[in-house]
Symmetry: C2
Subunit: 508 residues, 2 copies
């Protein structure tokens, strides 16, 4: 019989176990062992195999098929962190992890997550947790100033603008698309209130580039609006003329262009839509311009990288992920509206059990997002901004970009490879030259190269396809990334290439 059963009705300490799941002192001891384990993990994570040797279904043999009746003790659970969790983990914090875009994390952020869970307040309305709402508004102003965003995005500005933390960039895009949809439909209904909103929605059309993140396309599906993936140019950039042609054609056909999602730092190849060309068009046509800078936004901390966002002044909403480039753990995606009334109009359903006496005088973030519930995510952001400081964060950003520049130079030393897009921030896209392989496309060969590196298991990488070209993308700047590790990666890549070429593996 477990301790829990023995103690549960006994005493004050038994009461603690019943309510909090553990005694206070047991929690203290457990937390100490866990903290030691976490430090050890971070000291040695790069010695682990970045991607595990497991196959789908491996977990079933490691874990019982039902929950225990009686409480187990911490030492039992603790020992299985290695055997169960670590066994099949992709180690995103390993120095050999170059996949997707690096995720963020830091000790101050972990402390923040711990405090957030200990407080447990749910900040959907101002009433439900005033500190949560208010610290969030101040932190979003801190961020906006640190990135030198237009003043209209400040809560403390003169207008109706302001920022909010979303879980992910996907949600940020969706929320802005829904806001823009509502904003586009209202005036049509005011012209003729008898119109069916479905008939108006049918006429709406949104745009993004065909290199945008898949979450933009997904947002279009969810919002049930027609979203066109416009052709980007050979640099992976959406150009003004392409957008303008699409708008003209659609307007000719009675459609209502209402939303553009432009990307700074695409997922596939870290390309940049041409804001300077796009913005005057959106402004003239009254189209909502959302900037998805999920990845690239953190670079705006550094003045020398702000050229990527030239033309930002005319945007309607702006999003970036501190959980990508700013040492804050997922989930922390920062989203700003030039005019927050649009999102509130689109999302507000206001039952009496959520109303309060400060309504209208205070922000209720539940109307700025999809879910009702929201964690107090600002604490980790507050901890990181203070305990790392803006200067420290800029160094973090610069380190990641310098690493990419370093790899770029390495790739250039071997004529068999080519760099496919300019290395502007922390992403290098390369492939084996088709000429080398006597092949105009060489996608299959480059896919074989990707697979060989993936199966070698020393590094975790991800491929992409842009403009019909298969490429290998290396994301730098993760917690433990280093030029030394990139040297090693490049050595291994060349060796694997040699083998593939020797063995004629590339003959299809």
């Amino acid at each position: 019989m477990s301790n829990f059963k023995k103690r549960k009705h006994d005493s004050k300490t038994g009461e603690t176990r019943l309510r909090l799941g553990m005694q206070h002192d047991d929690f203290r001891n457990a937390a100490h062992t866990l903290v030691d384990r976490i430090i050890d993990y971070h000291k040695t994570v790069s010695e682990r195999q970045t991607f595990p040797n497991v196959k789908p279904g491996f977990m079933r043999s490691l874990v019982p098929d039902q929950a225990p009746e009686d409480a187990e003790n911490w030492p039992e659970v603790f020992s299985e962190i290695e055997e169960v969790v670590m066994k099949g983990l992709t180690h995103w914090f390993s120095s050999g992890f170059f996949g997707f875009y690096a995720t963020a994390g830091s000790y101050p952020s972990m402390l923040g997550e711990l405090l957030t869970s200990a407080i447990g307040s749910i900040g959907f309305s101002w009433l439900s947790s005033p500190s949560s709402t208010e610290l969030e508004t101040v932190m979003l102003d801190w961020l906006a100033k640190a990135l030198d965003l237009p003043k209209f995005y400040l809560h403390n500005g003169t207008g109706p603008g302001g920022g909010v933390i979303q879980g992910t960039a996907s949600e940020s895009t969706l929320v802005t698309l829904l806001s823009a949809r509502d904003k586009a439909i209202r005036p049509q209904l005011s012209i003729d209130p008898n119109q069916c909103r479905h008939d108006i929605n049918k006429r709406l059309v949104a745009y993004t580039s065909n290199v945008s993140n898949s979450s933009v396309e997904k947002a279009g599906k969810i919002a049930f609006v027609d979203l066109k993936l416009l052709e980007s140019d050979e640099m992976g950039s959406l150009r003004g003329k392409t957008l303008l042609d699409a708008i003209k054609e659609d307007k000719k056909n009675g459609r209502i262009p209402f939303y553009v999602c432009a990307t700074l730092g695409t997922t596939a190849c870290c390309s940049f839509d041409n804001l300077e060309e796009i913005e005057p068009i959106c402004e003239k046509e009254g189209i909502w311009l959302h900037i998805d800078a999920a990845y690239a936004g953190s670079a705006l901390l550094c003045p020398e990288f702000r050229f990527i966002a030239k033309g930002l002044e005319c945007s309607t909403s702006f999003n970036f992920n501190p959980h990508k480039g700013m040492m804050v753990n997922l989930d922390c995606s920062a989203l700003w509206f030039k005019d927050s009334s649009h999102v509130i109009n689109a999302m507000n359903v206001n039952p009496i059990y959520l109303r309060h006496e400060e309504m209208g005088r205070a922000i209720d973030y539940m109307h700025w997002q999809i879910p009702l519930g929201r964690r107090f995510r600002t604490i980790k952001l507050w901890f990181v901004l203070r305990m790392v400081g803006l200067d420290g964060l800029r160094n973090h950003v610069r380190r990641g970009i310098a690493e990419a520049k370093h790899l770029e130079e390495l790739v250039k030393t071997d004529e068999r490879y080519e760099i496919l897009f300019p290395v502007v921030l922390g992403l290098v896209c390369f492939r084996l030259k088709p000429e080398l392989l006597g092949n105009k496309i060489a996608n299959d060969e480059n896919e074989k190269l990707y697979e060989a590196i993936h199966h070698d298991r020393r590094f975790f990488i991800t491929p992409a396809s842009v403009g019909g070209k298969y490429l290998i993308r290396i994301s730098t700047g993760s917690l433990n990334c280093s030029t030394a590790k990139l040297d090693e990666f490049w050595k291994v890549t060349r060796e694997i290439t040699d083998k593939l070429l020797t063995k004629n593996k590339f003959t299809i």
Copy 2:
């Protein structure tokens, strides 16, 4: 000049600070002080004022208006937890918190959140973090078995069913509505591929009761489908006849009924839609039946409360929040599909940079949810299920319900008040009797009572309105709720009522 600046290029330890935001040893020390602080908070939280004396905008004077350039040290940040965060907090874990529905939390869950942030892996696809995906499938099976859900919801069952963790019940409802919308449109398009999907969507109609959570209505807005709020009966329950009448009427008008969201444990009054009447109708009509048991689901851990879910066997999807009744911190909302292919069909956009060689053989949870990114939230669920055990969780559920029964008895001792809905789980809805006030409605008087209790600040409560009746709702079962505290609450409520009656405050 901060330590950070001094150390950053110096040595190996300086490197740690640059990458992780703190030295390893500083993190250990900081974590220890934070853990002590958390224990102290939980020991004394009920001595704090549940809702703070703050007004909108209070935070601006407590926090600088921009982020620091240089890194600050932990002691500076730590000291402001009290001055900034606690200053304006609604203490959801206080024994005097009876608002909304209680949120969950426990020491094992906090340990889980800490480990999740330390690992930092993002589990959108199987490849991106196999352990994250696989432990989630096993934990959702554990939960389904513990709640005695139909077998078709098991991953390890024979069919295409399975569960997933969503952030909130709002997202669960939305995801099922989107899945059902897609499932309803596809066959229409296969009859006539030239049909416009907007014209089909226009014909779709979804139903829920007018006592459902506001997030259901919000999901309808987001998904851009017509969602009808059907009249519940005097017990706050959606009845079969009401639904059937609506369906018949809509079909007569050429509409396509496709989705019903039935609630077990409504937010306003913990009422229960009549599943036994609703299910055969949905089955006959081929309508997707989603069960929102966000609050009440945890009660299914206990066999004696399973009568509330009679008729569950015919549902299409089922959702409940372990972060409400099961000692797991927000966010942890469990959602099951009878056939997961529908959600994948509705949500899948599959760019090459997210593809992998195990696709089709493994679950990619990104296709089961709105966002792309997802935290490794299963760890806290796994910790709680093991370290509390099913027996412990059942005791936790029973304690909260017994507290509500206790308050119900107290209310019944004073003839001035009436209980408005049966006390089935951990919610008591009461009001001052209209007869007492010589008033047929007495909504204003009861609102005054609510406001007086709220401004007294000893307890945090929330009101609701059901069937035109304003009521005060008391949610029990929170971490530190107790019958002693409910005695105190009832004493204060009676005293406040006495004062209001004496002072003729109720004369309007």
